[in-house]
Amino acid sequence: MALRVLIGCKRVIDYAVRVRVKPDKTGVVTDGVKHSMNPFDEIAVEEAVRMREKKIASEVIAISCGPAQSQETIRTALAMGADKGIHVEIPNADMSVFQPIHVAKILAAVAKKEKIDLIIVGKQAIDDDANQTAQMTAALLDWPQATFASKIEKAGDDLAVTREIDGGLEDVKVKIPAVISADLRLNEPRYATLPNIMKAKKKPVQKLSPKDLGVDISSRIKVISVEDPPTRQAGIKVDDVDSLVAKLKEKALI
């Protein structure tokens, strides 16, 4: 049983960029801002590529939903070792209201179309921190889910997954097909090397639209306003422990 694995790769504003809110408060500035692959998705790609190297997986397909530049994100996944790419093009204008539910529907549709056995996505994207795609995709497909994975191993025909949960680790076993979301400690993603970048250039990338997959991406929500987080208020200095305790009591903090 060698699995066909689908990996979600989201193009996000690079983690090192200081995000700025647009003056009209409809979103954040993305023009001319450095983007890269969502770090949790990189972990997902790495895991899938390792599974293929261990012959657990037969083919690794990287999918990204987004504007034309998402192709770059897919190329990065291909350079890391994914076999082929699927780019579901979402016009830039629709990106601000493009939500996890739409991605989940697209992933579900592609999973059926490509006869996928396993979907791995990052547990959340570092831009919207929604943490919904894996769960909703599993629900739409009616597949088992193993979220926040820090270890994935083959156990007979199933997968044994260690999940990071509040206060510890949880071991679960999932039947295939399944949806897994990758947590931080699952692995350390590799660096793309030049020979692999060269190879990636020759790998196929299929372009689809949500319509091709029968997915309606009309918006269910409306962004009312995007605000900067409030700046931290200045603190005060206290002279001794007694006044500290008094102040804390006064503010009803203890």
Binding site: G32, E72, R75, T76, Y191, A192, L194, I197, M198, K201
Partner: protein, 639 residues
């Protein structure tokens, strides 16, 4: 106006000065110019038409606005190449932020083995080498982008990989036979072997044609035997493949006489007779290996001659010319890094109740830093783009970019340290390392002093050729009426002043930049006129007027910076890019400052006061040299 005869003699003597090698000359300039691929006249034929060129810098010396290589700003990557470069940029940036430790490399005086392994995987040792030879196949613009990342992070590492490919094996890329490329490029492009460029010798620095390393053909004619030594060779202690320059006996087919001429060789350490000294202790770029290299009866097979026998000087100068754009883009990255540090501090540090970036003293520094970074970056990428599209006569632009970049980076780093104050002076901050690393850029690969003379003399040599043409026309006005009419109109305009400033620049840039464009046009015209006046006034003695040539070069540098940045910002304004407003401001500032400085420098050329200053400086210098420094008796206390 002086007679035609004098103009002739100027051109001839300047030419023998610049191109000849038969006389001892105090400068290297003559030889640098020999690298000019498109404009080098093969013979000193007096009747030859003056060389034509589309180079902006060349034409500047005639007061002519030649924009085809500058406007529209030609820097762009498209399609597959753009994707390819982007793919490599991402892991490269990640490598520097997560793996490489510039401070540790500096302290250990070596790039860590882990970093080297990653650099190999990234293709960083073969960025310009075609894919068929296992390189990254980036092209010059791709290399420019990568070098900028390196410059932002680790200049010592930059010299390690730069000396390897930008000069070390560049000769094989440019001049290698198919066999030489097949034999050497895969090994060096992947970093399995390191390369070095061996030109400098103990007695031969700027005056590169005076090298003493010598190779003679073996009696049986199967190989050459090389003897001599080279100093300050980057990667000299680790290189397996070296581009070595040595004197070789060459027979002149015309006269039958045998004379020594320089030939380039590809020397493998394995040939035997190659040794190196211990790593030199340096001020900066400590992560790169610098060592003396000795050749003792080193046997070089005939097929390892690089280029033609006797053509080594041209090979050396073309390699250096070819690598200069990378210094500009590297240092643009360095400045970006320094600006980031300074801004971070200025926006967080509170003194006298306000963040220090709100004070004019800091604002002026930050603005100047941004301006210098922008001009450098603009020049570096422009040069790379022109090289990618096959422009050959870029040697003056390359020299300008190297001079400007290395001095701009020094000033920007200095200002960054000043803004950070005590923090900037601390080792932990990292800027002191940058400053130490930077210093060498004004010295190596052609000192800025020599390159200034090169810029001025190469340009004037070009202008001199055209002036001579005009002089000829004056002798026979009837048959050259058209030429004269054009020149008269041009000259009349100059004397009248602003009225007839060439409008081609203003007409072709974004309207917001009309004023900077006008300032640039005025500077170009004034420059051309000053050059002509200088040529007429000083005749063949121009080559000895170093005080003046220095000012000519500075003016040329400023003007080139003006036109290049106007072109770039104009493109950004046309595209309504998010940085357009800032770029427009930077260009306005730069053109105001630069045009004023151009005016001042050109005024110096004919000012009696400045002539007096130069004469005084000569005297002071001579005196201090005779006294071997400042004597103790000159202390105000008298002892």
């Amino acid at each position: 106006m002086k007679s035609t005869r004098q103009i002739y003699s100027l051109s001839r003597s300047a030419r023998s000065y610049i191109f000849g090698s038969q006389h001892l000359a105090p400068l290297l300039c003559r030889s640098y110019a020999a690298a000019a691929p498109a404009t080098t006249p093969k013979k000193k034929s007096v009747d030859k038409k003056p060389a034509e060129s589309d180079s902006f810098a060349f034409n500047l010396f005639r007061g002519k606005v030649a924009l085809s290589q500058v406007l529209p700003y030609p820097v762009k990557l498209e399609g597959e190449m753009q994707e390819h470069v982007q793919m490599i940029v991402q892991p490269a940036e990640k490598f520097f932020s997560e793996i490489n430790d510039a401070m540790a490399n500096d302290a250990n005086e070596a790039v860590s083995p882990e970093s080297i392994e990653h650099l190999k995987n990234l293709g960083a040792f073969g960025m310009l080498v075609p894919e068929e030879y296992e390189g990254a196949g980036l092209g010059n613009l791709g290399y420019a982008r990568m070098s900028q990342i390196i410059g932002e992070n680790d200049l010592g590492l930059g010299i390690f990989v730069g000396a390897h490919q930008s000069i070390g094996y560049k000769g094989i890329l440019l001049y290698g036979t198919k066999e030489q490329k097949e034999k050497y490029l895969p090994d060096v492009a992947t970093g399995r072997k390191y390369a070095a460029f061996c030109l400098t010798e103990p007695s031969s620095g700027s005056d590169a044609s005076s090298i003493r390393c010598r190779a003679v053909p073996a009696a049986d004619g199967t190989h050459w035997v090389l003897n001599g030594s080279k100093i300050w060779i980057s990667n000299g202690g680790i290189a397996e493949v070296m581009t070595v320059f040595a004197q070789t006996p060459v027979k002149d087919p015309a006269t039958g006489q045998t004379k020594d001429k320089i030939t380039a060789f590809v020397v493998e350490r394995g040939f035997g007779g190659v040794r190196n000294g211990p790593p030199e202790k340096k001020m900066g770029i400590k992560a790169s290996n610098t060592a003396e290299v000795f050749f003792e009866d080193c046997k070089i097979p005939n097929e390892n001659v690089l280029g033609e026998v006797g053509q080594g000087f041209k090979v050396a100068m073309n390699i250096l010319n070819n690598g200069r754009f990378g210094m500009a883009t590297t240092l643009a990255g360095t400045m970006k890094h320094c600006i980031g540090k300074a801004v971070d501090h200025a926006t967080n540090r509170t003194q006298f109740g306000s963040k220090i970036h709100t004070y004019g003293a800091i604002q002026e520094k930050l603005a100047r830093m941004c301006m210098l970074q922008y001009v450098t970056e603009t020049m570096g990428y422009l040069l790379a783009a022109n090289m990618d599209r096959g422009v050959l006569d870029y040697q003056v632009e390359a020299a300008i970019s190297k001079i400007f970049a290395s001095e701009a980076a020094w000033n920007v780093t200095d200002d960054a340290i000043q803004i950070l104050g005590g923090m900037g002076y601390m080792k932990e901050c990292g800027l002191e390392r940058v400053m130490r690393d930077l210093r060498i850029f004004r010295i190596f690969e052609g000192t800025n002093d020599i390159l200034r003379l090169f810029v001025a003399l190469t340009g004037m040599q070009f202008a001199g050729g055209h002036l001579r043409e005009l002089q000829k026309a004056l002798q026979n006005p009837a048959s050259n009426f058209g030429l004269l009419l054009g020149e008269t109109a041009k000259r009349a305009g100059k004397y009248v002043g602003l009225a007839s400033v060439d409008g081609t620049l203003s007409a072709n840039v974004h309207p917001n930049l009309a004023k900077p464009a006008q300032l640039a046009s005025m500077s170009i015209q004034a420059f051309g006129y000053s050059v002509e006046e200088m040529l007429v006034r000083h005749g063949k003695n121009i080559v000895d007027q170093q005080f003046l040539l220095w000012r000519v070069a500075d003016a040329a540098i400023d003007i080139y910076g003006m036109v290049a940045t106007i072109a770039r910002a104009s493109r950004s304004l046309d595209a309504n890019s998010s940085s357009a407003v800032m770029e427009e401001n930077i260009v306005k500032l730069w053109c105001n400052i630069a045009s004023e400085r151009v005016q001042r420098n050109l005024n110096v050329l004919k000012s009696a006061k400045d002539a007096e200053n130069f004469s005084i400086m000569s005297q002071i210098s001579q005196e201090v040299c005779e006294l071997k420094g400042i004597p103790a008796s000159r202390n105000p206390l008298g002892f």
